[in-house]
Symmetry: C2
Subunit: 212 residues, 2 copies
DNA sequence: TATGTTTACGACCGGTCGGTCGTTTAGTAC
DNA sequence: GTACTAAACGACCGACCGGTCGTAAACATA
C-alpha cells in the first residue's frame, strides 16, 4: 500500500511532473543538452528544488531514461503483447511504434533513437545505460521473431535476428525522416516496407491484416 | 588557378584543418554541443582566431555540414558511381557506406545521422540545411533505384522509393547499433539484409556479387 | 623602404551552466 | 502546544560558453 503522508505524495507528484517535462525537453534539446534551469523554469519551480529529488544532473538523466522506458513499454510493448505471439505480434510492435511516433507524444520524435545517436561516442554511465536498454529492446524483438519461427509462421531457415533487425531499422529511419520528408509519406513507406517483407517471408501471408 | 599569396594559402590550410577537427568533434559532442574553445584548444590555436574565418558558431556549423557532405561524396557516392547504374550501384552505395562506418573515419559514426536526430525538433538555419541534405540524399538513392527499374533489373511494378527507403533504413540502423551490439555482427546483418532484399526483388539475382 | 592586407592573438564581456548551502514552508507525530 | 521530517526556495559560486575589440605579426605590393 502506498503512503498516506501528504509530503511524500506531494514529492512524488512533482517528481513525475518533472520527469514528464524533462522527457519532452530531452527529445528537443538532447538528453545532455537538457538544462536544469530550463526544466525548472518551464515548471515554475526553483532549480535548487530539483536537487532535493536528484543529486545531480546525471541522476536526473538516468531517471529520465527510466521514465522513457516506462512510457515505451506502456505505449508500444504492452499493446503488442495483446496480439498473439509470432508474426502478428511483430507486426503489432511495428504498428504501435509508428502510431506512437505519429501521435507526436514527444516533440522530438523518439527519445531512445535521439539518445543513442547523441551518446554513441560518449563513454560513461548514461551511455552504458542506453546500451543496456537497446540490448533489451533487440532481445525482445528477436524473441518475438523467434516465436514466429517456432510456430511455423515462417520457414525454419529464416533468421529471427534478421527479422528483428529489419523491423528496428524501418522504425528508426521513419522517425528520422518524418519531420523532413513529411510524416504521412514516411510512415506509410515504413509500414508498407515491413508489411511486404513479413508477408513475403510468411508461410501464410494472410496471417497479417491488410494494409489500409 | 589558385592564389599564390602565402597569406591566403595559410588561411586556407587552417580553415580545412579546423573543419577536419570540428567534423570529428561534432560527431562526438554533437553539432551543437561542439564548443569553439574545444576546437581551438585541440588545434593549438586561439578561439578568437576562429572568428577571423567564420563570423559566428552557426557559420562554422554550416561550414562543417558542407565539409561532411564533401567527405560523404568522396567516400560513398563517388565509389558507387564507378559501378554500373541500377541495382549494382545501389548495392555499391550500401557497401561503401557501411565500409565508411566500419573504417571508423568519424569517431561518432555518422555525422549526418547524428545531426538529423539532434536537430529534428530544433527549427532554424541548421535544421533547414540538414533537411535539404537529406532530401538530396534520398533523391539520389531513389534515382539509383529508378534506374534499376527502367533497366529491367527489377520487375516494372517495384517501387523505387521503397527500395531507396529500405537501403537508407538499414544503413542508419547499422550505425546506431554498431557501438552497442558490436560492429561485426551489426554490419554483417545490415549487408545481409539488403543483399537478400535486392536479390529477392531482382529479375536476375546473379547480377549482384556473392556476399563474402 | 613605406603601405595595405590577411591572419592570428590576448584580454575581456555578459550570460548560462551545474552545483552548494542555509533557510523557510508544509505536513506528521506526540 | 512542541519536536521532527520532507519539500522547496533564494542567494551565491566557479567554470565555461559565444562573441567583441584592439593589436601584432606575416606577407604582398609598390
Amino acid at each position: 500500500m502506498t503512503t498516506q503522508d501528504g509530503r511524500l505524495i506531494r514529492g512524488e507528484r512533482t517528481r513525475t511532473a518533472v520527469l514528464d517535462q524533462a522527457l519532452l525537453l530531452a527529445t528537443v534539446a538532447g538528453l545532455d543538452g537538457l538544462s536544469l534551469s530550463q526544466v525548472a523554469d518551464s515548471l515554475r519551480v526553483s532549480k535548487s528544488g530539483l536537487f532535493a529529488h536528484w543529486r545531480s544532473k546525471e541522476a536526473l538523466q538516468l531517471a529520465v531514461i527510466d521514465h522513457a522506458r516506462a512510457q515505451w513499454t506502456d505505449r508500444v510493448i504492452r499493446p503488442a503483447l495483446a496480439e498473439p505471439a509470432g508474426l502478428r505480434r511483430l507486426w503489432a510492435v511495428h504498428h504501435h511504434r509508428l502510431a506512437f511516433y505519429e501521435a507526436g507524444v514527444l516533440p522530438g520524435g523518439c527519445f531512445f533513437a535521439n539518445a543513442h545517436f547523441e551518446f554513441n561516442a560518449r563513454p560513461g554511465v548514461i551511455r552504458d545505460r542506453l546500451a543496456a536498454e537497446l540490448t533489451d529492446w533487440m532481445t525482445f524483438l528477436t524473441g518475438v521473431a523467434t516465436e514466429a519461427v517456432t510456430r511455423g509462421e515462417v520457414p525454419a531457415g529464416v533468421d529471427a535476428a534478421g527479422l528483428a533487425y529489419q523491423t528496428e531499422s524501418l522504425g528508426v529511419c521513419a522517425v528520422m525522416q518524418a519531420p523532413v520528408l513529411g510524416p504521412e509519406t514516411t510512415f506509410r513507406q515504413a509500414r508498407r516496407a515491413l508489411h511486404d517483407h513479413l508477408r513475403a517471408v510468411a508461410t501464410d501471408p494472410t496471417i497479417l491484416p491488410e494494409l489500409t
